[in-house]
Amino acid sequence: MDQDIIKSLKGLFTMVVVLGVVVMVLLVGLVFLQQNPGVLVSKNEGEKENPPPLVTENLVKDGVHVATGLVAEKGYETVIANCTNCHAANLITQNRGNKEHWEKLIDWMQETQGLWDLGQNEEIIVDYLAAYYAPVQRGRRANLDEIEWYELEE
């Protein structure tokens, strides 16, 4: 009888040890997965070429709306909502003009390009553009700027 008890105890002990090892492996695995969440995701080339966008649509950095490059001051959301449906924001950010200039441009877009009546938004948009995209007088030729100096090897 003693032999049987010892045998059963041995079996039980072995089971406990095996279970313990399994639990340990699972725990280590879970911790590893928590730190490396990408491990189980299949690495298909298509996904590699299309990483998720790093910036959200509304991110503002250093006073600039990242997705459009527009100065993130009063009125810029109205500009985005009304202007960037038809053309890129960089058509705005690279241009300069006073109030009259921007008003005329809006008139032209309404007359020829199918821009809708902006209603009360027109004032918001024009004020914003005239304030942050105003002309800068630079003479008949500006100095060269943004020169990247480099050693010329001949």
């Binding site: 960089n90 690279q94 241009n95 300069r96 008949r140 060269l144 990247e148 100096w149």
Partner: protein, 417 residues
């Protein structure tokens, strides 16, 4: 492992997967099934996808500058244009509308019509290629607004610096041969092109651009219906599978994705032919003046101009070293007769070696060596003179409402220490 080794079936199936997903996106974007999807050439990416990486999409050099992504407008830079024949990856893109969502070369047709043709005629692209003699020319194409960013008061539109110019080798058939085949009447004044691109508003009733050239320009030896650029099919962004190329005129006259040419009995009245588009004041005006439409004249031949393509601006050299200068010069319908450079802001000029054009309307190459008298900051200025004796201005030329034709001298910065 070589590149060929990588072309395994899994890569191909991935391509197919990408292409199919691209097609699905296109279909969603244009709200319609993509016509001719099955006959799209391998490697052809429908460019209706506006959010994609333009460098990958158009196989462009990373140093090109994106001025606009709707429509696509990419600018090159002087030092990228050093090649004698501009390669596709360094060529600027100026689009007015959206690149056609689907293009099928096999079913592509060109219609010839208008008041001044005896009877309208349609040619398949295949017929054009088969029935007419092929010609190859290097042709300078420059955007009318190249250099616009320097005008004050600022002119609206893409703020081009100096990089909206190219001189590639174009192969096609002569427009004059095709016009002769169609038969044009004595009352022909102008031709107007119609293309397959779509208006930014998506309105199918609106053309983004439909310009043309006087009949005399249309009948010139070098005016081509081109289907090849630098010996290959024209890249999609540059007008695949067929475009008009009228060198020496504002590049807007060289319609891409060409579907129809109308021979008109009057000046063509298509989109962007009317004032103020591609027109300048007939008489000089003060900066900021309002100019009535009837006092604006169509731009024809582009003015004399040059570009220093080597070295890149910002070169630092040692005192005593001479500096090699290279570049190109062009003069619209004329030839460039002389090229000078100055290192003292125009106080003195030295003449450069200037090669003749390889054919009419091709840009010309210049080289010289300059030496610097002492350490310090310098600018090397280049100034071309055309065969009529007209030179480039050193200041920004006369202001115009749309900021066209800035042919002021190009200059680069050099530091000697």
């Amino acid at each position: 492992m070589t590149n060929e080794d990588k072309q395994t079936p899994s890569v191909n199936s991935r391509r197919k997967f990408l292409r199919n997903s691209v097609l699905a996106t296109v279909a969603a974007a244009v709200g319609a099934k993509v016509v001719f999807a099955s006959s799209m050439p391998e490697g052809y990416v429908p460019v209706v996808l506006q959010g994609d990486d333009p460098y990958k999409l158009f196989k462009k050099d990373k140093d090109l500058i994106v001025l606009n992504n709707k429509p696509w407008n990419l600018e090159s830079q002087p030092h990228l244009l050093d090649d004698k024949v501009t390669p596709a990856d360094k060529m600027f893109i100026r689009n007015n509308g959206l690149i056609p969502a689907s293009i099928d070369e096999e079913s592509w047709e060109l219609v010839l019509d208008g008041e001044a043709v005896s009877s309208p005629k349609t040619y398949s692209l295949e017929t054009l290629k088969r029935d007419f003699k092929h010609y190859t020319y290097q042709l300078t194409l420059e955007c009318g607004g190249n250099g616009r960013s320097e005008f004050y008061p600022p002119a609206s539109g893409n703020q081009w610096k100096t990089g909206a110019v190219s001189c590639a080798s174009w192969t096609g058939v002569r427009l004059k041969d095709v016009l002769e085949d169609v038969g044009i009447r004595d009352n022909a004044v102008y031709i107007g092109y119609h293309s397959a691109d779509t208006h930014l508003s998506g309105d199918p009733g609106k053309e983004p651009i439909s310009r043309g050239v006087p009949i005399t320009k249309a009948l010139q030896e070098e005016t081509l219906l081109a289907f090849e650029m630098n010996g290959e099919a024209i890249p999609i962004a540059h007008g695949y599978p067929l475009r008009l190329v009228a060198g020496g005129y504002p590049a807007s006259a060289s319609g891409k994705w060409l579907k129809r040419i109308s021979v008109r009995d009057k000046v063509h009245d298509g989109t962007k032919m009317a004032a103020p588009s591609y027109r300048v004041p007939c008489k000089p005006v003060s900066p900021g003046d309002e100019v009535p439409d009837e006092e604006m004249c169509i731009i024809e031949s582009m003015p004399v101009k040059s570009l220093i393509t080597y070295p890149k601006s910002g070169a630092m050299i040692d005192l005593g070293d001479s500096l090699e200068i290279r570049g190109h010069a062009w003069a619209g319908e004329l030839e460039v007769s002389e090229l000078h450079v100055s290192i003292d802001f125009g106080a003195t000029w030295q003449v450069c070696k200037l090669a003749p054009p390889v054919n009419r309307l091709a840009w010309q190459h210049f080289t010289t060596k300059v030496e610097f008298p002492q350490e310090g900051y310098y600018e090397v200025w280049a100034r071309a003179t055309d065969s009529n004796g007209e030179s480039q201005p050193m200041v920004v030329p006369g202001w115009n409402p749309k900021g066209y034709l800035n042919n002021a001298c190009h200059r680069i910065a050099v530091k000697v220490s």
